[in-house]
């Protein structure tokens, strides 16, 4: 038996997924879950596409009786929501989950159970929306759910609740996946892969995932607030009781604009990966592109008000956002020129992925240019809410995301299936999609400028829009036929194509240094990387890695091992022992789902039960990890040694908590923004009645926070800080229970309830985590004595005391000063 085969069998025993339904439900393998995410997202894309066809059928002729206005509202709301939340984001997440470890020379992502949990949450949350659609009660207030249209008086049915709860459920998946991706990119790379040797796709995903951590919390907050208003009558967005519908718009677009770049950047990463291979050269301007991505990541947060140019905001504020909106075109332009330069410098071949990239260039550049047009305030005032904007956003998203992902499909499909591409149907599909798309949406620019508003279900025959709409609809169906061909092509390739050879495109990145399709463990040994394109210098790397001529080549203790590196330099830091297959993610997702279903059914009294269940499962989740025996330094190959992650301070778990808490901090920051916004901008303020201030309660809380902050810091003792937090908890609960005005009477009381509730919840969580680590220490777990667990508990304690004290002081101060 050859060495490679022996290793393959040994690793497959450790990393493989058992056959049968139990294996299917319990797998945490990133390749399996990545493919599942992509297939699910594609299914949602087809559903969203069918809805688009129904929209175009309705609009093809004036006065159409195809779908009434009520159904039509559900059609366009579901089309937008599905494409944004259930197709685009999960599609690139699935792609990143599948591809990143392979490109980075790792065996899996940092948190495999979280990967699985994310998929289940996405599947269940998305299914809720589909159930709503089948029952005929799908959301119908538009995909950005503007209040007061989506508030109870104007949307009394359950439709909007399906959106708010279903999408929030899916967002949980987005947040955990983003943490997973960030930590994997920063820590789980092949030895020697310093940040400047990282494939560009990893840079794109690093920035994208960071943007998700900052961009999604405002939307989650907005959804929670709106659901609280709808369920319990807490008036955050009701102007009569001190709320403001503009608060929803701010929170939504604080998410919504970065979202466009969150969708575009992974696709641009795909372009930056495929294009140089097609041009048979290296990417031009690696450093310039990294700088441009970072600039985009930040600048794209300064654009959100450009969706609100017509709501009556002062000129100066409009100008800030108009300036930022035009500015953001520059880093995008830098990338476009880097790609053009790469084509110029290389010897491009018009293979199928390249054809789709040409489709991307043409379409996306046009979308970018109309973007600069609508960034200019006076033009936007004319075009706002017309079909022109619909056309612009489809050029950007279809051009900037769908075309690159189609290119990616043809480029990497052989990687997933292990078969080579051998049909020409893909070319016909391209032309149908390309021509169909431009026919549909180019005309929408014109009819938009002629005045056709978006989202209308019909229009008069004599207004001059009929011809454009009919041709748009024809174009839409041509696009759909193109996608039909694409699906047939995929099936043919999947079932009939011959086996592919290794690295069919002659690429230089590590994902091609393995068997195709990839085995469960990716690589039998980890390479030492000293170039951005390791396969260029060593075309036979796949064979030598399979023979075990790299790091961690010998399986030991039935562990799923991979290496963690120092963030910047890529020097070896420690060994990560990943968890194996388990049903915990499925159970946790089911219990999480139970919470959302109970909320949806209005069974509010029962809703806390699954939350307690999630806490219990979370406890179990953390408890089953690690052991009681320290191993010290273990050999990893080439004479090197490293500790396992349970015995180091900077384990992936620590990093994961840091990034999770930064997302959480953004949530809290958005809440404070909401409080300040309502206080200064909303009508009907100041509130009729302020909180009754109590100096003793405030003093108890602040003293508790001070004890938690100051005690046990150096020796990592936890009992003192936990006692301090308990005092803070009592003060927060007493304030909300005894001192604050009713949350239903005025937005002031509602905001206070959420602020203090948030503080109390996090203080309780930190107490729980502190107790967990104390118990683990007592039981003798290595990670709780030598490892990062006390440090993680300290992180949570610090976060909880800071937010809890801020909430307490923020609630008392205005009343004390008044």
């Amino acid at each position: 038996m050859t060495q490679a085969l022996r290793l393959h069998r040994a690793f497959e025993r450790i990393w493989g997924t058992p056959r049968g339904w139990r294996g299917t439900l319990s797998t945490v393998n990133h390749s399996t879950l990545g493919v599942r995410l992509m297939v699910t997202a594609f299914a949602f894309f087809l559903i969203g596409g069918v809805l688009a066809m129904l929209i175009r059928a309705q609009l093809a002729t004036p006065g159409s009786a195809f779908a009434g206005p009520d159904i039509y509202n559900q059609l366009f709301t579901m089309h937008g929501s599905i494409m944004m939340f259930l197709f685009a984001i999960p599609m690139f997440e699935g792609f990143a989950i599948y591809m990143l470890p392979k490109m980075l020379g790792a065996r899996d992502l940092a948190f495999p159970r979280m990967t699985a949990y994310g998929w289940w949450c996405y599947l269940f949350g998305g299914s809720l929306l589909l159930i709503a659609m089948v029952l005929g009660v799908a959301p119908d207030a538009g995909w950005f759910m503007y209040t007061p249209l989506s508030s109870k008086p104007y949307s009394p049915g359950i439709n909007s609740d399906f959106w708010l709860l279903g999408i929030t459920f899916v967002e949980i998946s987005a947040i955990v996946t983003a943490v997973d991706i960030v930590v994997s990119i920063l820590k789980l790379r092949a030895p020697g892969m310093s940040l400047d040797r990282m494939p560009l796709f990893a840079w794109y995903m690093l920035v994208t995932a960071m943007m998700m951590l900052i961009g999604f919390p405002p939307l989650i907050l907005g959804s929670i607030l709106l659901e609280l208003e709808r369920a319990f009558g807490w008036p955050f967005f009701d102007a009569e009781r001190g709320g403001d519908s503009l608060l929803w718009q701010h929170l939504f677009w604080l998410f919504g604009h970065p979202e466009v770049y969150i969708i575009f950047l992974p696709a641009a990463g795909v372009v930056s990966t495929i294009l140089p291979v097609m041009a048979r050269t290296r990417i031009l301007g690696y450093g310039w592109i990294v700088g441009a991505i970072l600039a985009l990541g930040f600048l794209s947060f300064g654009l959100w008000v450009h969706h609100m140019f017509t709501v009556g905001i002062p000129h100066m504020a409009l100008a800030f956002f108009s300036a930022a909106s035009t500015l953001v075109a520059i880093p995008t332009g830098v990338q476009i020129f880097a790609w053009l330069g790469t084509l110029w410098a290389g010897r491009p071949q018009m293979k199928l992925p390249m054809l789709y990239l040409v489709g991307f260039f043409v379409t996306f550049v046009m979308g970018g240019l109309t973007g600069v047009m609508v960034a200019v305030v006076p033009f936007d005032w004319q075009a706002h809410d017309t079909a022109f904007v619909t056309a612009h956003l489809h050029y950007v998203l279809f051009g900037g995301f769908v075309f690159p992902m189609l290119a990616a499909t043809y480029y990497w499909l052989g990687h997933v299936t292990g078969r080579q591409y051998s049909y020409t149907l893909g070319k016909a599909a391209f032309w149908l999609i390309f021509i169909g798309f431009h026919l549909t949406f180019f005309l929408m620019h014109i009819v938009g400028l002629l005045g056709q508003p978006r989202r209308i279900d019909t229009y008069p025959a004599d207004i001059g829009w009929t011809g454009y709409n009919l041709l748009s609809s024809v174009g839409g169906f041509v696009t759909a036929i193109g996608f039909g061909l694409f699906v047939i092509d995929l099936l043919l390739q999947f079932f009939h194509a011959p086996r592919t050879r290794r690295n069919p495109w002659g690429a230089g990145t590590l994902e091609w240094a393995m068997m195709l399709p990839p085995p469960s463990y990716n690589i039998a040994s980890l390479p030492q990387v000293d170039d951005r394109e390791p396969l260029e210098a060593a075309p036979d790397l796949a064979l030598s890695l399979a023979r075990g001529e790299g790091y961690l080549a010998e399986p030991r203790n039935n562990w799923r091992e991979t290496l963690a590196v120092e963030t910047a330099s890529g020097r070896i830091d420690h060994i990560v022992v990943l968890p194996g297959n388990t049903l915990l993610p499925l159970w946790t997702a089911l219990v999480t789902g139970a919470f959302f279903v109970l909320m949806l059914l209005g069974l509010y009294a029962w809703a806390p039960v699954p939350l307690i269940g999630v806490a219990a499962l979370g406890w179990r989740w953390a408890w089953v990890q690690g052991g009681k025996q320290p191993f010290g330094k273990l050999p990893i190959g080439f004479g090197d040694e490293a500790c396992v992650h349970a015995e180091v301070q900077g384990s992936p778990g620590w990093w994961g908590n840091v990034f999770f808490l930064s997302a959480n901090g953004t949530f809290f920051g958005s809440l404070l923004f909401g409080y300040a916004f309502l206080w200064t901008i909303a009508p009907n303020w100041p509130p009729p009645e302020l909180l009754t201030p109590s100096v003793p309660i405030l003093a108890i809380g602040v003293a508790g926070a001070a004890v938690a902050a100051l005690f046990g810091r150096r020796v990592r003792a936890l009992k003192g800080p936990v006692a301090g937090l308990a005092a803070l908890f009592v003060a927060l609960i007493a304030t909300v229970w005894l001192l604050a005005p009713s949350p239903t009477s005025h937005a002031y009381g509602a905001v206070l309830a959420v602020l203090l509730g948030y503080g109390a919840l996090h203080v309780a969580l930190a107490i729980l985590i502190g107790m967990f680590v104390v118990r683990r220490r007592g039981a003798g777990y290595v990670a709780a004595t030598l490892g990062a667990e006390p440090r993680i508990a300290r992180l949570w304690i610090d976060y909880a005391l800071a937010t809890g004290a801020t909430a307490l002081i923020g609630a008392h101060m205005p009343a004390l000063l008044a």
């Binding site: 930040f298 930022a324 500015l327 200064t680 901008i681």
Partner: protein, 105 residues
């Protein structure tokens, strides 16, 4: 982590300056600072211009501070300098409206 944070420090400062200027603009209107005259420009405009100048100065200092030594090949150091230049230019450009546009209408 610190080198990575340093490599985006200029952009973080842009975000801080942008948010501060937008927040001061909103706050000034809510508190009526636009109507308080200080001889020449209103109180609101004076504070906005002062914030703008302070932000630009800090970012210019950061560019100077992070300038890479000649011939360096340290990727993150060059990135840090580039991001501070981008931060500086972005702050100069996005903050320009403080000088002449109407603040509260």
């Amino acid at each position: 982590m610190t080198p990575l944070l340093r490599s985006v420090s200029g952009l973080i400062l842009w975000a801080v300056a942008f948010s501060a200027i937008y927040a001061i603009q909103g706050l000034s209107c809510a508190l009526g600072w636009d109507a308080i005259g200080l001889g020449g420009p209103s109180l609101a405009r004076s504070i906005l211009i002062a914030t703008y100048i302070v932000s630009v100065t800090i970012l210019a200092w950061l560019c100077w501070r992070l300038r890479p030594s000649s011939g360096t090949r340290d990727f993150l150091a060059i990135l840090a300098f580039a991001s501070s230049v981008i931060g500086l230019l972005s702050t100069i450009y996005t903050g320009l409206p403080v000088f002449w546009l109407s603040i509260c209408s």
